[in-house]
Amino acid sequence: MHKILSKEKLAPKIYRFTVEAPPIASSRKPGQFVVLREFEEGERLPFTIVDSDPEAGTIDLIIQAAGYSTQRLCALDAGDTILDILGPLGKQTDIENYGTVACVGGGVGTAVIYPIVKAMKEAGNYVITLNGARSEDFVILEEELEEVSDELIVTTDDGSYGIEGFGSTVLQKMLEEGREIDFVVAIGPVLMMRAVAEVTRPFDVGTIASLNALMVDGTGMCGGCRVTVGDEVKFACVDGPEFDAHLVDFEEQVAKLGYYHEEEDECRMHKLPHELEQEKA
């Protein structure tokens, strides 16, 4: 059992949780994730560890309410508990001093990228962060990213805040204008990461993407998280979650993420605990 110590709303449907998990807090590295199961009948779901406090024995997770399971999670409050948390899983990000690093985060991917931005900065890089969101309301972690980036550029799809457009387009412009960028990290929706990979490919800038593959165990036992990288098949939970974005077969990932859509729809028909309570009342 893991107690939730605090909960903060970052944007509509996006929450940050601070959760007790002492052994994970003291061993996690940037880029790693946990697999959690909220309740006995629940699924095992992966979430990036956004931050940790080894002294307090806590980790921070950012969760967006999408399907049934994440809606349920987001309905939890401080004081509630999560049944199982396993981690830290996956490989840590290759943090080095590359020179100038551009970190492109989209949607909740911005949460995933935050610890990497922080670590890249600490490693002595000049860090340009591109923080993309649908609209002003959905911009998250602006202050935190500001603090750990040398440059922060916010983009919104609808132009309601920051620059109108996508992070990938801004990055393209920078590269075309001859900005020296040595390394790129892209984390967000699959199509966004593919767009970034296509932008950096002609400029031959090393680029990694963090894949949000479907997972069951998270320990290399099921192979449900398979990813084709170049001509190799990798397991995202063990060999990833980050891979060379120029080699990842993104089409395959798009197809895979859609595999259980019908079941997810069915799942949405399940009532959330608070809805059940309201009905009873």
């Binding site: 165990d217 290399g220 197809a255 895979k256 079941e263 799942c267």
Partner: protein, 477 residues
């Protein structure tokens, strides 16, 4: 006259030898739609009838056939005497998980194959009797917890809670050592909970048998992936353990290495079975999804393949067609005969001497066919089995929308990657002293599938017993 009738009656008595009692099972067409256990178990009457068949050999070979040397004739005699719970306790002197082993052990290759009765008739149904005794004791609720000696003050970390780890924990607790079990998943039991399906091994029974070690005082730490959450060195140097046992199994599933294996609708048997068993996807109230289409191909022919095929039939809609696709012939299938037989009865189709070469998909990336080539048997290969040879020009496409790959598993590397002085083979299996389970690293022992590659529950338990003995000696030394 009297003489003759005596002779006749003796002959008659011989003819009336009790036949091996068949296991009562649920009808195939009923059971293949649900996950309730297939085999029903012996009634006390059946059990005693079967037990009477044992001739109580003076030099019983069955004991040597058993990897944990159960005192077989003794427990069978207790069943004859109606002392069913005592029979269970007799078994437990050497076997921690009798209700499990009675269900899944390949007795036909171990204790039963050497049973003297088998030479003239059929062997005693030792496995069914083992199951009966264990079930009886559990159902009566008089499961006895062994008395524990005073604490030795020594602490052992057992990593992995499959049959190997559970056995080590039990044996060391019995010696008075403190034991902490570290398990990566959210439940104890290893393959017993995530692999072998409910209809063959009910999870409540696994939990009950494993509960013994909790009652004996083992500390249980779930959701702990050693090599990630803590390392072996940290367990030894920082957490105060005097020895470590690694019973981490061989969990990494093999794939086919043929085109199309990443299409939607292709999964490993491990994934498919984990969704069903560990995550209970077949039960309405559980959230984890599992799905199969109308035409399912299971590739492979071991126990895992049979389990996957029979599970697919159960989670699929009415009319789902499930095939085993195997490149060799029926005689060479590695699964237990009983499992093959049950699968056949339930309506699994066997496509033998058929080797998949490519999985075909539609524009959206979903499986819509399995291209295979027909095989014929040639000369024996390294494994002694006739080598299957492709028949040129026999390529054909099977109409399939789901492919489940059950070809085997190999070790994962979380521990070997983080424990530099742990020697492994080129396949990643830990190298140990066969008698003691000692690895190259002092104080670290290993056993089960991680050492041997995928094997059996009872071999893992046998390795656990040997290692526990060696660990006990190491702690005293």
């Amino acid at each position: 006259m009297a003489e003759r009738s005596k002779k006749r009656s003796r002959r008659k008595k011989k003819k009336e030898r009790i036949p091996r009692q068949p296991m009562p099972v649920r009808p195939a067409e009923v059971r293949n739609k649900d996950f309730t256990e297939v085999a029903l178990g012996f009634t006390p009457e059946l059990a005693q009838k079967e037990a009477q068949r044992c001739i109580q050999c003076a030099n019983p070979e069955c004991i040597d056939g058993c990897p944990v040397a159960i005192r077989i004739p003794e427990f069978i005699q207790l069943i004859v005497d109606g002392e069913f719970s005592a029979a269970a306790q007799k078994i437990k002197e050497t076997n921690t998980l009798p209700a499990v082993c009675g269900r899944v052990c390949p007795q036909e290759e171990q204790c039963e194959v050497v049973c003297i009765l088998g030479k003239i008739d059929e062997p005693v149904a030792i496995g069914r009797l083992e199951r009966f005794a264990a079930d009886y004791e559990r159902e009566q609720g008089d499961v006895e917890i062994p008395e524990l000696p005073p604490s030795t003050g020594k602490k052992v970390a057992v990593v992995g809670s499959g049959p190997a780890g559970i056995t080590v924990a039990y044996e060391l607790l019995r010696k008075g050592h403190a034991v902490t079990v570290y398990e990566a998943l959210h439940d104890l039991g290893g393959v017993l909970v995530y692999g072998i399906p409910e209809f063959r091994l009910p999870k409540a029974i696994v939990a009950d048998e494993i509960d013994t070690i909790k009652k004996m005082g083992a500390e249980i730490k779930l959701n702990m992936l050693i090599g990630k959450t803590r390392t072996v060195d940290e367990l030894l140097d920082e957490d105060g353990f005097d020895a470590v046992f690694l019973g981490v199994g061989a969990g990494l599933p093999w794939f086919l290495n043929i085109p199309g294996e990443n299409l939607n609708g292709v999964s490993s048997a491990n994934e498919f079975l984990t969704r069903i068993n560990l995550m209970k996807a077949y039960r309405e109230e559980y959230i984890t999804p599992v799905k199969v289409g109308k035409k399912v191909a299971v590739i492979g022919a071991g126990n895992v393949a049979m389990d996957a095929a029979r599970s697919a039939l159960r989670v699929g809609d009415e009319g789902t067609e499930v095939s085993i696709v195997y490149r060799r012939s029926r005689e060479q299938m590695p699964a237990r005969e009983e499992e093959i037989h049950h699968a056949e009865e339930e309506g699994i189709i066997f496509r033998l001497l058929t080797n998949p070469v490519r999985i075909l998909g539609d524009d959206d990336g979903y499986v819509n066919g399995l291209e295979c080539i027909e095989m014929e048997l040639g000369e024996p290969d390294d494994s002694g089995r006739a080598r299957p040879i492709p028949i040129e020009g026999s390529e054909h496409v099977l109409d399939m929308d789901t492919v489940i790959v059950a070809l085997g598993t190999s070790p994962r590397t979380f521990i070997s990657d983080t424990t530099p002085d742990l020697e492994t083979s080129k396949w990643g299996n830990y190298i140990v002293n066969e008698e003691t389970g000692a690895t190259s690293k002092p104080g670290v022992f290993a056993g089960g599938d991680i050492v041997t590659g995928s094997a059996t529950v009872i071999l893992a338990m046998g390795a656990g017993r040997d290692a526990a003995k060696a660990i006990d000696e190491y702690l005293q030394g």
